[in-house]
Symmetry: C2
Amino acid sequence: MKAYLDCIPCFIRQSLDAAKHATQDFHIHKQVLREVLRLTSDLDLNQNPPKIGQLIHRLVRELTGVKDPYSKVKKQFNTASLKLYPKMRQLIIESDDPLDTAIRLAIAGNIIDFGVNGALQESDIEKAISECLAADFTDEQFNAFRQEINDAKEILYIADNAGEIVFDRLLIEQLPTEIVTAAVRGSPVINDATIEDATNTGLSRIVEVITNGSDAPGTVLESCSEYFRYRFGKADLVIAKGQGNYETLSDVKKNIFFLLKVKCPVIAGSIGCKVGEMILRKTKAFIGEKENARI
Amino acid sequence: MKAYLDCIPCFIRQSLDAAKHATQDFHIHKQVLREVLRLTSDLDLNQNPPKIGQLIHRLVRELTGVKDPYSKVKKQFNTASLKLYPKMRQLIIESDDPLDTAIRLAIAGNIIDFGVNGALQESDIEKAISECLAADFTDEQFNAFRQEINDAKEILYIADNAGEIVFDRLLIEQLPTEIVTAAVRGSPVINDATIEDATNTGLSRIVEVITNGSDAPGTVLESCSEYFRYRFGKADLVIAKGQGNYETLSDVKKNIFFLLKVKCPVIAGSIGCKVGEMILRKTKAFIGEKENARI
């Protein structure tokens, strides 16, 4: 999906948040703000939001001289989520429908998104868990998802954020792990998960983890490594977590299921739902072999 | 108070909101956004937020060619508030402490602020009324306020927004109206009340209403008319409603009581309270005759 004008004020706030995470120097915060305002005033808006985010966060890193502004936050939320892991795993195992519970928890973890909420607290996670366990899905495609998992030969699970990746691990544990590969970002951007987070949260011990080779807060395919694109092409089922992956992959002709919590009005408008809702939905951009046969 | 860097993303959003209120033309929205980004990238931040707001909204009016983008919204919220007026007046008259109830309602009306919330619905007003009637004040200075009203020879009540002005009327009716003058903005900016709103909501029938001669969303004294400044100087008690008036008058050495609902983290930080709280507070910038005598 393309960026909306409404994305711009949000990017400005995001860049200031990132600068504050990188340094306490007010003069650098101001410089970042001014340069990002300048950059966005001339920006091509016919790009998807993570492409713009990629440019902005490169600028923030350049101006602050800090390669990973959210390093501390990522560690903090990995640790907080790992603390919840045993309780959540128990909840899944003991539930009537473990896959359903694991999907709900994976979506709950999507609350850990510093691109949307720079003031997120650890206490917000438990609140999100309770809500996601109780809430109804919007246009839920659970049966189709279960069927596709059973039919798949190779699943690519594209993770989103640090901390959240612990919740992804819980869902991945309910999938046929021998055919699952998890993908993380190639290098730091906002609090998006990188290989370090996959290692630190034990995901790498369960499935193969690859990086996408990119520093975009989403899956901008032309910015990803050739190897990632090869693996993306080879997978017959892609599970894409979170808003950034939705924004970059919603128009790609590929068999993708999107799992996310909708956290902004722009995405809500694109999906046709309300802010706060849980989404488990097969992409509309793809017509698979079965669907093709019917036409 | 000076603007904070955090005000800037909010101004960008506000300008886009204003452009959307002015026209449905996407190209004009985009042009407004680009020009406001350019303007703010070079802005002197040592100004109070309404001074910046003044510049930005002048630019929006110039680029859209619409003199009063919030005209419809202002009429809508005047009408909605007038519908609630009889019920609220009854509530005040029948309450144990009419002045306390009227103050709470006046603060509830401060929710009608399109500078902060461009998605405000009429239903939000009744919710704000219930909340303000039940909530505790932060550092409430009710007794001092009552005393000053009794002692005052000339009260200047600086209103904030359209719609809200109906709630101000309820409070003004509890004051000694013969010594009260109400002030509104000199010309349209966001949904701030102008003379038209004072007339349409009946405020002009109760007290003298003057305009401040300015198009700033607050009381930028140097931008106000000479006559307004004269009246401001002459009043021995000023009641200033809302965030914009707080932002512009909090450092002015004058006997001012601020009445507002805190709607943004920057103001909350300046006041030392949480977002959502109700404030009735005497300015800290002023030392009056009595206080002077004690020193």
